[in-house]
């Protein structure tokens, strides 16, 4: 790719992806507010249709609150198999526009189209054909932002989205293109939290300095920012506020992690129950990793207590792994001495360090030695895992679970599976 050609990055973001897929699959839901997410007492909204958003519901909001705001909403637990299949089709469309497509979650992607100008016309035209083809082949709407880098493209797609405002739905432009020369004007009015890497803590620290907009950040000296946020974060934020984002579009980068979190309707108060939940989630996560043709190296466990104290622990294996019991065993080991303390409201298990399964160094088989007290567990588990995956491919994730995860029916917990949030 020639470096003197101006860089053009598209950010394609599906509108209310999970909810829209549900509506597409069940046309009678069209026009009704739809909430997808955990349906239990502490479930969280993973996706809200725009109709639901006009009532004030939004993703990441506790489901209870969303239902109070929008009592007429149809609440669905989510069907991730289905969302995955739509996501695959989305990427088939995007692949026609550039070989440089970086997937972010199921419903977002960056495309580096710097080299494709001659083929598809200027960014506006290209963005329009992306939208049109996604619409034609998936039957879903997306928003497309274009800019000289990932930061600007992402903010542009956000500006292109429909918005719910004071109970009414405002149609978005669908496409927003920010040319190099317009970047600073585009960024400056935005709130500082829209910059990549500014979380609630960073935003609060800046607010104490009276800094709330990108304009104000850009006006600060790098030194002042570094003093407020630390050296690395300060330097980065200064660059971003000036519209500079060197991150490349990394094509084909698969999901960085696969995980699952559950928020419980009632706090878990026994260590056994914690282990049970962790084992069950670990098994499901391993299954999803295998389905994606990948292997994992790192297992992370997350425990959030009733007082919102959150503990995260992780372990990295020397070699990639695929088996559910290995993941579950490690997750349980990480759980180790963590007791329920004052109650556990959320547990999460994730697998990261994902590599293609072919790069998995393979599995050293064992001789069938009959050792007292020693099972030939690993080899046997590999076969079991394969069978489990086949069952799940046909009948869904819940069709089969390890006995340890079923040991006790859960009398007091809601089905609060909280999938990754969508934007």
């Amino acid at each position: 790719m020639s470096s003197n050609r101006p860089r053009v990055v598209l950010h394609v973001d599906m509108n209310a992806f999970f909810a829209s897929v549900e509506v597409k699959e069940r046309p009678w839901l069209a026009g009704r507010p739809v909430l997808v997410g955990g349906t239990g007492r502490r479930g969280v909204v993973a996706s809200a249709s725009y109709e639901a958003r006009t009532c004030g519901a939004r993703s990441a909001m506790p489901m209870g609150q969303a239902r109070r705001l929008c009592p007429q909403a149809v609440v669905l637990p989510g069907n991730f198999e289905l969302y995955h299949s739509y996501s695959r089709r989305l990427h088939e469309v995007l692949a026609r526009f550039s070989p440089l497509v970086e997937a972010v979650g199921l419903d977002e992607a960056y495309l580096d189209v710097s080299g494709a100008g001659g083929l598809f016309g200027p960014p506006e035209a290209m963005a329009a054909s992306v939208r049109q083809q996604v619409r034609a082949e998936l039957g879903l709407d997306c928003s497309v932002g274009a800019g000289p880098n990932k930061l600007v493209a992402k903010l542009a797609s956000k500006a292109a989205k429909p918005r719910a405002c004071r109970g009414r739905l405002l149609a978005g432009p669908g496409i927003v293109v920010v040319a190099e020369a317009e970047v600073l004007d585009f960024l400056r009015p935005l709130p500082v939290a829209s910059l990549w890497g500014v979380g609630p803590a960073g935003a609060a620290r800046l607010a104490r300095l009276g800094v709330t907009s990108v304009r104000q950040v850009a006006a600060l000296s790098p030194g002042a920012l570094e003093a407020a946020l630390g050296r690395v974060a300060g330097k980065l934020l200064h660059e971003l506020a000036w519209g500079r984002d060197p991150r490349p579009v990394q094509p084909g980068r698969p999901a960085k992690s696969v995980g699952r979190e559950e928020t419980y309707a009632y706090d878990l108060v026994s260590a056994d129950e914690m282990r049970l939940r962790v084992a069950r989630m670990a098994d499901a996560v391993a299954s999803r990793v295998r389905r994606s043709g990948q292997a994992f190296r790192t297992v992370t466990l997350k425990v959030r207590y009733a007082d919102f104290t959150t503990v995260t622990r992780s372990h990295t294996f020397p070699a990639p792994q695929v088996s559910g019991p290995v993941l579950a065993g490690q997750a349980e080991a990480l759980l180790g001495g963590l007791g329920p303390a004052g109650g556990v409201r959320l547990l999460g298990v994730s697998a990261s360090g994902l590599v293609p399964a072919q790069a998995c160094p393979g599995h050293q088989l064992e001789l069938g030695l009959a050792l007292p007290g020693q099972s030939r567990a690993e080899a046997a588990w590999a076969r079991v895992s394969a069978a489990v995956d086949q069952v799940r491919a046909r009948f869904g994730d819940e069709a089969v679970a390890p006995g340890s995860a079923l040991a006790r029916a859960a009398p007091r917990t809601g089905k609060g599976s909280a999938p990754a949030r969508e934007g």
Binding site: Q364, E366, L369
Partner: protein, 366 residues
Amino acid sequence: MKLRCERDTMLEALSLAARASSGRSAPTALGGVRLQLQGDKLGVTGTDQDLTIATTVAVAGSGDGTVVAPGRLLTDIVRALPAGAVSVQGDEEELHVSAGRAEFVLRPYRVADFPHLPAPAQSAVSLPTAGLAEALRQVVRAASSEDSRPVLTGVLLAAEPDGLRLVATDSYRLAVKELHDAAGVLPEGQRVLVPSRALAELQRLLAGGTVAVEMRLGPRDLVFSVGEVQLTTRLIEGEFPPYQQLIPFNYPNKLVVAREAFLDGIRRVRLVARDATTPVRISLRGDSIELNVVTVDWGQATEQLDAKYEGAEMTIAFNPQYLADGVEAIPGDEVVLETLDSLKPATLKPTGAADYLYLLMPVRVS
């Protein structure tokens, strides 16, 4: 206790005994080496209670006595002393070591704290030194080093009608050696499980050349005497797993390949496998084989070798270290690799003799 001797004599005895003393432990008598002077004979003993190595050297003694010195420290000191005569003198309070104008005063351990060592059984049998050294070289490598499965850290010595059989496995590979000229070494039907660490030390002792080896079997331990050195090892308790049914009777696929070329090829291609778990794939077809290592991070390596292959076209993958260990253990110029399929145990053996076999489980690759 007071003596003088050549530095190198002392050093040799100390480093030998210190191999058995537990080096990393806190300063306790187990990390010590016992020096026992009787007349002009100095006994030097190190032990961690599982393994004991004792040797005797001739010195100029002038006062009998026993001292337990910090093993590794004393060895390091003696090694660093100038060449020539070393004087050692001491009691339970202080140990003086000097040579030339250098002098060290060490604090010894209490002699009473040094482990009590069992007296070896009386009846000794002789072992064929050369055959034993080769058998140890071929078998010890297959034993496990994981303490979680103690039985597999041992080498099985089993009395067979036509000799002594040595067997070791770490559950990934299995080595079996028949030592034909060692019939009657163990009573008929007797099986003992000897820690591989002790046999590795025995192997080192035998590497020096051909000396007589004697063996004494006690109820809980086994003693090997090699010249002036006595190596005592605790036996592993427990039943060695049945292994004979794991060895397939016949194989449909047979590869014959030059040993050195095979070994060199494996060593070359495995260079790109930066971790121990990346397998080497062997493609078997016609009269050449291909070795292949593929990694995501570092790239790949391929090497073709001339070979004689009869059987179905197939690819089988192995842990390169385990494979190299097996090939290296085979005597002679050629190696036979026999396989069933890519998921079943394969066998490495020499072309001629039928007294050695190395069974190896493949790595399943996607």
